[in-house]
């Protein structure tokens, strides 16, 4: 009895996309490790890779919960950009954030939430296709930032509280490079990334709100008939997603120690495919935090280790594109089989 239950659990596990994604990640790491002469699993490379995963990983969580509900959010980079540009400008003009970054984050989250509310209001009230709506608001928010508000780049004048928060290191790795000692900081922004993953996973699996997102992604009519207030859930979802985008945008400002209004353009085109690669279905109702983290790791490892195995970095887009195509095709083939 227990043996058969165990084997059926194993069978179920091998059916899941995230299991295979995880396997691909491991195999790929071993391959790169071997080809690069052991350069991947060194303290400084790992610290660098984890650092570049933080922001993309958090954005991926945002995309994941929207995609689980059967929607697409193309506007999150524009929301993040407008939120952090406006927040840093306000802080700069008022002399805030000199010692701590709190005011900047609070402002960015609030602005993000307001912009997300607009998405949520349009999507839930007019029952429109989410991709079309967020494509529209994306352009609208960018236009608002550039045209009406005339957001400027803030680099050296970035408030000290934000800049120093971005330098926060959990620990420092020192490497001896031909007699010169180089130090690599393990960024403190890894903490919010981990918290994001835990919270997303908790919400998706342990709350009725999270199950509602899966239910709506699976069959919206059924979710309505089952007693979910689909309209309200969607409104809340897009508002929360907007607020989270504002937060992540601000993390990026702190890490880069500059606020560039145009820095986020096109971000959705790399994050969304990564989430799909991680097992989220383009038709909604499927996707896990674990799979998404693995997919983000694959893409980050590939782009960071091209040079390690002696491939010119301009091949990076080529390989990223290839990985994404494979991921999306696998996802579509699976969906097709299921519908058969």
């Amino acid at each position: 009895m227990s043996a058969s239950a165990g084997s059926s659990r194993l069978k179920r596990m091998t059916k899941r996309t995230e299991f295979w994604i995880f396997l691909v990640l491991i195999v790929m790491c071993i391959f790169i490790q071997a080809r690069s002469g052991g350069q991947l699993f060194t303290a400084n490379t790992i610290v660098t890779i984890l650092r570049s995963m933080c922001v993309d990983g958090m954005f991926a969580m945002i995309c994941l919960i929207v995609m689980v509900s059967g929607g697409f959010d193309l506007s999150f980079p524009a929301v993040a950009a407008l939120a952090y540009s406006l927040a840093t400008t306000i802080c700069l003009n008022n002399g805030w954030c000199q010692t701590n970054p709190i005011a900047g984050f609070v402002l960015s989250i609030i602005i993000g939430a307001v912009l997300g509310m607009l998405n949520g209001w349009i999507i839930s009230n007019f029952k429109l296709n989410t991709m079309i709506v967020t494509l529209g608001t994306q352009t609208f928010f960018t236009g608002l930032s550039m045209g009406l508000l005339k957001m400027k780049e803030i680099t050296s004048t970035l408030p000290a509280g934000l800049a120093s928060f971005g330098k926060w290191a959990l620990f420092t790795v020192k490497v001896d490079m031909n007699g010169r000692e180089l130090s690599y900081d393990m960024t403190g922004m890894f903490i919010p990334f981990v918290i994001f993953c835990i919270v997303t996973s908790f919400v998706l699996n342990k709350t009725m709100f999270g199950r509602a997102l899966y239910a709506i992604g699976g069959n919206e009519t059924s979710a309505e008939r089952a007693g979910y207030n689909v309209k309200r859930i969607k409104f809340i979802l897009y508002t929360v997603v907007g607020a989270a985008s504002g937060f992540v945008g601000m993390v990026r400002v702190c890490m880069a120690r500059q606020s560039i209004p145009k820095a986020m353009i096109g971000k959705e085109m790399t994050i969304i495919p990564a989430v799909i690669l991680g097992g989220a279905s383009i038709f909604g109702g499927e996707g896990t935090v674990f799979g998404t983290v693995c997919a983000v790791a694959i893409i980050t490892v590939v782009s960071n280790s091209m040079l390690l195995i002696g491939i010119d970095s301009y091949w990076q887009d080529f390989f990223n594109g290839l990985i994404i195509l494979v991921g999306v095709t696998v996802s579509a083939v699976q969906a097709m089989r299921r519908n058969k």
Binding site: N205, T207, M208, G210, Y214, A215, G218, S222, G227, G285
Partner: protein
Amino acid sequence: MSEYLLEMKGICKSFAGVRALDHVNFKVRPGKVMCLAGENGCGKSTLVKIISGVYTRDEGEVIFEGQPVTKITPAEATRMGIQVIYQDLSIFPNLTVMENLAINSEITAGVKFVNRKRWEETAKEALSKIGYNIDLYAKMGELSVADKQLVAICRALLFNAKLIIMDEPTTALTKKEVDALFTTVRQLRDSGIAIMFISHKTEEIFEISDDVCIMRNGKNVYSGLTSELTPDQFTYYMTGRELTNDRFEPKNISREPVLKVDQLTLPGNYENVTFSLRKGEILGITGLLGSGRTELALSLFGLNNPKSGTITLNGSQVKITSPMKAQKLKIGYVPEDRLTEGLCLQQPIADNITLASLKRLSNALGILKHQDILDDAQIWKEKFSIATDDVRKFASTLSGGNQQKIVLSKWLSNDLDVLILNGPTVGVDVGAKQDIHALVHELANEGLAVIIISDDLSEVVTNCNRVIVMKEGRIVGEMDGDQVTEDNILEIIR
């Protein structure tokens, strides 16, 4: 307490001035199966939505367990013990069986967090209500329609249902699955639950129901005991016209066969299939699901290439490798699932009808002649009496029966030698069914060779002058003329 569980008197409902329900009366007895019958668009679903609280009635009285009910909301309906199992079953294909079973009651209870243990207990309790056994962690989308239906029934039972409304539950089921469903329905009935069964299939209604309420054009034209009704009366009430079940009499059979199939084999699908078909004949191919009948049909239309054997058409041997090739050879195929395989619902009726004959309707440069398309469609609309005022309307505006007429006219508007119909009247109501059969008879007598593939034995018997019975991929019997009876076929199939 009243003898009736639910009484509805003088129910009226209008939408934008159009009367959908006109003084409908009926009663539901506890522990009985009540059938609500009627053709598409007669107001059945509006009535169901009023009972379940989705719509509010304009006029009329509702009495539930002897108490008058003034206003029904969906929540109120659930509280009273009314559960609707919709045709699409309202399931979540991406979630597990356990989640599908428990999610509704969790939402109703208004909890905020997920408690796996409680979900599992709820799910087990639901399954125990009808003693049904299934893997709780299986994905819902991977189950068969019959299993999905049982899960939906179990879920409804969790709410201490007193009245379960099933909206056309047998549409996607095989005969065997229907029998299993009926066993469950009887089990529920015997436990005191009232079942309202919505259907338009005559045989099923007579098999399962105690009471029947027949609706036509928003009015109920009959309500009473099923046993006091004959099938002919039933059909009359449904359609409002006397239907004659004319058996097909071939008048014009050609001497030479138009199609000859010899030792056709595709391992795993069918083996050593040999038969011939002459012009003016209607040949029935029947058998249970999985007998190879559909696979064979697909091979004749170039969608399932056979491994060995020959197909001879008009005396010359042919290889049918693609649907395009089949069309060139003047073979037409109307698929089982017309909605996904045979129709573009969001396209005008005229475009659907002429889809297979665009070559004829375009000029030398391949540019379409718009007026010719409309004229062509108009001819078919009249010939087939397709119920629409304008052929430029979308196909989705029509009922199932009329949609099927479009699919047929699409193929017939090309000059054909052989027409293959796979389940031509699945999900079609009696009136439209009659129209389709009559037209097929006419076409055969005009010299077309027709193959009907169906598991609806009464359809096969009334329409075919010759029948081939398949079982596990082989032909196990052939009969013609007076030998074609339901009993004879059943004897071989079993």
